[in-house]
Symmetry: C2
Subunit: 191 residues, 2 copies
C-alpha cells in the first residue's frame, strides 16, 4: 500500500554532476547539480538546471558553454562541497584540490580527476521557476583510457558517484544487459 | 590521459523511468525512458524526453499528464521490455504482468509494483531534435510504507534500478551524507 508524501523532488537515481564554467574574468568554477540528465539523442544533449542566483548561471549565460564532469565515488566529499560553497566566495578548485582543464572545444573547464567528462555548447534554455534548464549540445565525451570492456565504457570501471535520497552511494552489482534482457518477454510472447 | 569518444549520449548514472500514460482510448501504457531527470525545486518538476513517433508522445500530448514509476532492481527485465516493445503492438502491462493503478490526481496510470512513483501534470515542453522534453509538475510522490529510515526514503530499502553504460545495475554501498560531507572542506578552509 502506497502512502502520499506530497509534491517533492524525489527520483531514483539522481546524478551528482560537476558543472564546469568560467566566470566573466575567465576563472574556472564548478557547481554540483543533481537536477538534469541526458535529454536527446540527436543532437546528443545533456541538461543541467541552475538557480539564477548561482555564479554558474552568470558563467554559462556569458560564455554559452559548460562542461559536465562525472565524479567517481571517491570524490563524494569534494562533490558535496561544490554544492555547498559558492564560487563567489571561494575558489572551489583550490579548496578541493581538483584540477581545471581548459576544454579545446568550448569556453569552459572540466575536472581532470573525473574519469568521464562532456564538453557542451549552450543549445537551448527553459525557465522552470526556481531553476533555469541549460540544455547543452555534447560536442565530445572524453574518458580516461583503460575504462572500457569490449570497446564500451564499463560502468564498474568508471565507478561513478550516485546521489539518492539524502546521500551518496556507489554503483552496485550488474543485473543484465540493456536492449537485451527484455527479449525474454518478447520471446515468451512469440511462443 | 583522456581520449576523445566523440559526441555521444554518455552520462553516469542514468535512470530507467517507467513513464505511464493513457492512450486516446484510455488504455494504460508504459514506456522506459533513460533521458530525463528532476529539473526544478519550485515547482517540483521532472522531465522525460520522448520521441514523437512513440505512442507515449501521443498519450501525454492528449491527456496533458503522465506518471513516472521508479522500478526496483528486480524489475530490470520488465523495464528493458518496456523500452523495446511498442504499446501500439503490445499491451505492455499484460505482457510484463505489471499492474496499472489509476492515479486519483492526474489522468495517467502508475505501476503498482514500483515502490516509488511520481504523479505529474504536463507543465512545459521543449523540442530538442530527436526527442521532445515533457516537463511534468510533480503533484504527489507516493511510496510504499516501510521504505523510510528516520522519516526519509532510504535508497537501500527502495533498491532502485540504475541504468549505466549498456546495462542495468543495483545501487551499491553508502558513502556519505549529502549537504554534510562537504563540510569537512568548509571547516578545513575556516581553520
Amino acid at each position: 500500500m502506497k502512502k502520499s508524501l506530497g509534491p517533492k523532488t524525489v527520483a531514483f537515481p539522481l546524478p551528482a554532476y560537476l558543472v564546469g564554467a568560467y566566470d566573466e574574468k575567465g576563472h574556472p568554477n564548478i557547481m554540483t547539480a543533481a537536477w538534469g540528465g541526458i535529454l536527446s539523442s540527436s543532437p546528443p544533449t545533456i541538461g543541467v538546471s541552475v538557480r539564477p542566483t548561482r555564479l554558474t548561471f552568470d558563467c554559462v549565460t556569458h560564455h554559452k558553454a559548460f562542461t559536465v564532469s562525472f565524479p567517481p565515488a571517491g570524490l563524494y566529499v569534494e562533490t558535496d562541497f561544490a554544492g555547498l560553497a559558492s564560487g563567489r566566495q571561494r575558489d572551489k578548485f583550490a579548496a578541493t584540490g581538483l584540477t581545471p582543464v581548459d576544454s579545446a572545444l568550448v569556453s569552459a573547464p572540466y575536472v581532470a580527476e573525473c574519469p568521464v567528462v562532456a564538453e557542451c555548447e549552450l543549445y537551448k534554455t527553459l525557465e522552470l521557476g526556481s531553476h533555469v534548464l541549460f540544455v547543452g549540445k555534447i560536442l565530445d565525451i572524453k574518458a580516461e583510457e583503460n575504462l572500457e570492456t569490449d570497446g564500451e565504457l564499463d560502468p564498474l570501471k568508471v565507478n561513478p558517484l550516485i546521489f539518492a535520497g539524502q546521500g551518496y552511494y556507489r554503483l552496485g552489482g550488474f543485473l543484465g544487459k540493456a536492449f537485451d534482457s527484455g527479449h525474454r518477454i518478447v520471446n515468451r510472447e512469440a511462443e
